[in-house]
């Protein structure tokens, strides 16, 4: 029997699985799919805007996290605390560095990196592939797009940067290998750019546009497994630092990070079973004794001493809603904290700074990450919940999406490992 079964292979589930396996626990992850990792920017946001309806970007996440915990002790960061966030960051940085794909940044200082529309995006940890784009240094940029890739328009980036007082030019390249193709997406392009001949053609097309630019930005497609090599080669050919800017999904930087985490789990002796949707659980005497995943024949039971729910929120599918206004947790049917009335789910503006209340729906847990019933008692002795399945947090408006997932996954795994 497994000691720990984790349901969900997003950032939270992967972090928990990796840390628990590292501490010698027998761990299995069962997942429907790969969570949001392939959609994310590939950076680690801890907190970028707080308060969310303010206008100022967070310069120092340490101060902002402290403020969040003071204002809202139920926030997932309130359960984790600063020390574990710090420890998670250092563990992740070590692992990525060992994998040859370093992340850079410190908890007390956010990067300001350009986005695919040319806004300045606060984030805490960024892959080395992106850091030359830091907007706190004031040197002119060239932003490069690929004619056939509609997921990145360099002129939108450069014009918005110029509007914000940052000197930027743009160039569009038209690579021969892309002209012959009837379809490209970021993943295909990333793999093509690992070929030296394509790198050379790319650099040759860019050179006439370099002008006064001291660094060159690209969509985040500079290689998949060989990203760092591609970056170094382009820097050599162009004689300037290059950097990536994340754009529409699929996210190549997200996939690189995902690959590192899954490898880390396997190396630590954990198992991941993908393509298994958890649909229910068997409960006996206040404990869960099996989680069922759907198969063609019959629900398949997964037995374990402990279960970690990391199925995500509304986005990940761990929390579902229906036309009658019901908000449900899908695996254990745990009590959900959600707006009482359906008319209160949303504000009128898509970009409302406060965020839409329905997205804060989720589970209320205690410091041990145990989901609680209406009376504040743990529902099951051996069930824990982490990541965006948790309530009391607007991770997208705060820009804390990866931080909440990774920190809760890390903190719970440490707790379970210590017992």
């Amino acid at each position: 029997m497994n000691e720990i079964t984790i349901i969900g292979a997003g950032m939270a589930g992967l972090m928990a699985g990796w840390q628990a396996a590292k501490q010698g626990k027998k761990v299995k992850i069962v997942a429907k799919g790969w969570g949001a990792t392939h959609w994310l920017s590939g950076c680690i946001d801890i907190v970028g805007y707080y308060p969310v309806d303010g206008t100022e970007v967070v310069e120092n996440p340490v101060a902002a996290v402290k403020q969040i915990i003071t204002d809202n002790p139920q926030h997932p960061y309130g359960l984790v605390g600063l020390d574990d966030i710090e420890a998670m960051i250092s563990a992740l940085k070590d692992e990525c560095a060992a994998a040859g794909y370093p992340l850079h940044g410190e908890l007390h200082r956010n990067w300001l990196l350009p986005s695919a529309v040319g806004t300045l995006r606060p984030t805490c940890l960024a892959p080395e592939m992106m850091i030359a784009g830091d907007m706190r240094q004031n040197s002119p940029l060239l932003i490069v797009g690929f004619k056939q890739l509609m997921d990145f328009f360099p002129n939108v980036v450069s014009d918005n940067l110029n509007k914000q007082g940052i000197t930027a030019a743009q160039a569009m390249v038209d690579l021969r290998v892309l002209r012959e193709r009837s379809f490209i997406n970021p993943v295909i392009l990333a793999e093509m750019l690992e070929q030296p001949a394509v790198q050379k053609e790319l650099a040759n097309q860019i050179k006439p546009h370099l002008g006064q630019a001291e660094r060159v930005g690209f969509p985040s497609v500079l290689g998949m497994d060989q990203a760092m090599t591609v970056k170094k080669e382009l820097e050599r050919l162009l004689g300037r630092p290059v950097f990536e800017i994340p754009s529409l999904t699929p996210s190549v930087p997200g996939m690189r990070l995902h690959h590192i985490l899954t490898q880390a789990i396997v190396s630590a002796g954990g198992r991941i079973e993908n393509g298994m949707e958890a649909i229910g659980a068997k409960k006996e005497n206040g404990k869960v004794t099996a989680v069922y995943t759907s198969t063609a024949a019959r629900p398949h039971p997964h037995r374990s001493q402990q279960y970690i729910l990391a199925t995500g929120g509304i986005l990940g599918g761990g929390i579902t809603t229906n036309s009658d206004g019901d908000v449900r947790e899908v695996v254990f049917d745990l009590p959900v904290t959600a707006p009482l009335k359906q008319v209160d789910w949303f504000h009128q503006d898509f970009l409302d700074k406060r965020g839409h209340p329905i997205y804060q729906s989720g589970l209320s847990v205690n410091k041990q990450f145990q989901p609680l019933d209406d009376g504040g008692q743990p529902v099951y002795g051996n069930v824990f919940a982490i990541g965006t399945t948790l309530a009391h947090c607007e991770a997208i408006r705060e820009r804390s999406f990866e931080g909440v997932a990774l920190a809760t996954g890390y903190a719970l795994a440490r707790q379970l490992g210590a017992t």
């Binding site: 920017s41 695919a116 529309v117 509609m150 939108v156 994340p246 986005l315 008319v343 970009l351």
Partner: protein, 545 residues
């Protein structure tokens, strides 16, 4: 102030206005059409897309039924590319009176609507998702129409005959000299300036807004705006238009339109055509009624909800808008109000727009003392899309894919859901005068699929910025406006998988792209008009049940 001279000024860029414009231009009148937003922005672009056989009115409103079947046959001839020949069923559900079937048959016979009863087994063979408990089923020649495309094609035809169309020109007031209307002062939203248009005659084809236009010179035209709410199911659950076989009521039609199916509609009297909230009870009612026709509807993924306002007209006031005739009304204000050179056309239905236009232009000829024959029923409306069609010339579901697959631009899809290529978006911007992403949407269907703008909004931003090269603030506002416009229609139906989808769109646009911190203004003059927030959870007592 800019000043323009024309023979006839048409107000309103919906089905009626563009139909009138085409007819006028074909009969040789110098014509300008003004529309306050984009073509089909009003009721025409917000209806369920049903090409009526007339069956719906066969019992209750025989005049409207006769008009429908006449025009149904003409439109199939002159604009098959705007129509999908789905056919239609009238079904008697367990909640309906089976005896009404005979009344219905008789009504169809009397109004000339081809109608045959088919077995329930045959019905289920053709539409297996329909309720198996149906008592009876009748087949009629209903169809599914693309109202956006029809307006565009009407205007293209009118332009070929010398007509001129000015979108984003909102009529501020009519100009009256003595007892004559001599033109209108318009506000050009794009260039932020007034434009005066002088005309020998003005046709008010502004639908639900006709009362507001006439009111600008003190003429009372009592339009009863009848709001109808519709809900789109994300799948095409039926290939046939399905109507309940009973007196017309709420939520009793499902129309397959392109890749989706639309449940319609409610009918609620509202005070002002510009202010209509979609109330939660309306959406619930659509789902409950849809469930009776197609069991399982409530569990399906909903794509969007919206409301259109019927321009119902009655000289005397009525309590319930369902009791107002669906036939159209021509008001010659010289006879009625002593104001010459001014005609209002209102009421009616999309299906009868051509006939309404014919009647209007006949009257224009009379008033301008000239005799010119109508030819709109004889000459085909040109197809501006050039997609492959059926042998009879109709649009069919595979049209767009067939065209896209042949095209070398197949891989360059800006909108994967609706198969819109980059070239089509560029053409909408350069040739079809699209000013906003929402205009591009009406031209190309960009953003109308399941992801509701998730991927294509960014791409459209880049294409627009590249092709038109506006200031970056303008591009930013266009993106924000479009995200907001899509959101507006999602709000009433956001739950289940569609809510999940919307959270992904938030992840991309806020988390990855940080669009909530773009420089410049947050909304523009050309931006979407929001519905009021729906707050009434249950149906008000005063409304009919």
């Amino acid at each position: 102030m800019q000043s323009i001279q024309t023979e006839v000024l048409v107000i309103g860029g919906g089905a009626t206005g563009t139909g009138v414009m085409r007819d006028l231009a074909m009969r040789g009148f110098k014509t300008i059409l003004v529309e306050k937003r984009d073509l089909s922005h009003g009721t025409t672009g917000r209806y369920h897309g049903l090409l009526h056989s007339g069956g719906r009115y066969a019992v209750k409103d025989p005049d409207a039924a006769r008009e429908c079947i006449e025009e149904n046959l003409i439109l199939r001839r002159i604009a098959p590319h705007c129509i999908e020949d789905t056919g239609g069923f009238f079904v008697v559900t367990p909640w309906d009176d089976p005896a009404f079937g005979d009344t219905f048959m008789k009504g169809c016979q009397e109004t000339g609507i081809p109608c045959e009863e088919i077995s329930i087994a045959q019905m289920l063979k053709e539409e297996p998702l329909l309720n198996k408990e149906m008592a009876r089923c009748f087949r009629v020649p209903d169809g599914s129409a693309d109202s956006f495309l029809t307006s565009e094609c009407n205007v293209a035809s009118a332009k070929a005959y010398g007509g001129q169309m000015l979108n984003y020109h909102e009529v501020k007031r009519l100009i009256k000299e003595g007892d004559k209307v001599v033109g209108a002062v318009c506000y050009d939203l794009v260039n932020d300036r007034d434009v005066t248009i002088h005309a020998d005659l003005v046709v008010n084809a502004s639908g639900a807004w006709a009362g507001k236009i006439a009111g600008s010179i003190g003429i009372d035209v009592h339009i009863i705006p009848g709001k109808g709410t519709m809900v789109a199911i994300a799948h095409r659950v039926l290939n046939t238009v399905v109507n309940r076989c009973k007196m017309p009521s709420d939520g009793d039609i499902i129309v397959p339109v392109h890749t989706v199916a639309i449940i319609g509609t409610t009918d609620v009297k509202v005070e002002d055509p510009d202010q209509f909230a979609i109330q939660p009870w309306e959406v619930q009612l659509m789902l409950d009624e849809g469930e009776k026709l197609v069991p399982g509807t409530k569990q399906m993924r909903m794509l969007r909800a919206w409301a259109g306002v019927r321009p119902l007209y009655q000289e005397t006031s009525v309590a319930d808008t369902r009791d107002v005739t669906r036939a159209y009304t021509l008001l010659d204000h010289s006879a009625r109000d002593g104001v010459d050179n001014f005609i209002t056309i209102t009421g009616g239905k999309w299906t009868t727009f051509r006939q309404m236009a014919e009647v209007v232009v006949d009257r224009v000829c009379e008033k301008l003392n000239t005799k010119r024959e109508c030819r709109t029923h004889l000459e085909a409306i040109p197809d501006i899309q050039h997609e492959p069609r059926t042998a009879e010339g109709y649009y069919w579901l595979g049209s767009r894919l067939a065209r896209t697959e042949k095209n070398k631009a197949y891989g360059e899809l800006a909108c994967e859901c609706e198969l819109v290529t980059r070239a089509e978006v560029e053409e909408a911007i350069t040739k079809h005068e699209a000013k906003t992403f929402d205009d591009i949407r009406r031209d190309t269907r960009l953003g109308m699929g399941p992801c509701q703008g998730g991927f294509c909004s960014y791409r459209a931003t880049g294409i627009l910025h590249t092709v038109r090269q506006p200031s970056i603030e303008e591009t930013n506002v266009a993106l924000r406006d479009f995200l907001q416009e899509r959101w507006k229609g999602l709000l009433p139906i956001l739950w289940g998988p569609q809510l999940k989808q919307e959270r992904l769109d938030e992840l991309m646009y806020l988390h990855v792209m940080n669009v909530d911190h773009m420089p410049g203004e947050t909304a523009s003059r050309l931006g979407p008009q929001m519905y009021d927030k729906g707050t009434v959870e249950t149906r008000p007592q005063s409304a009919k049940t």
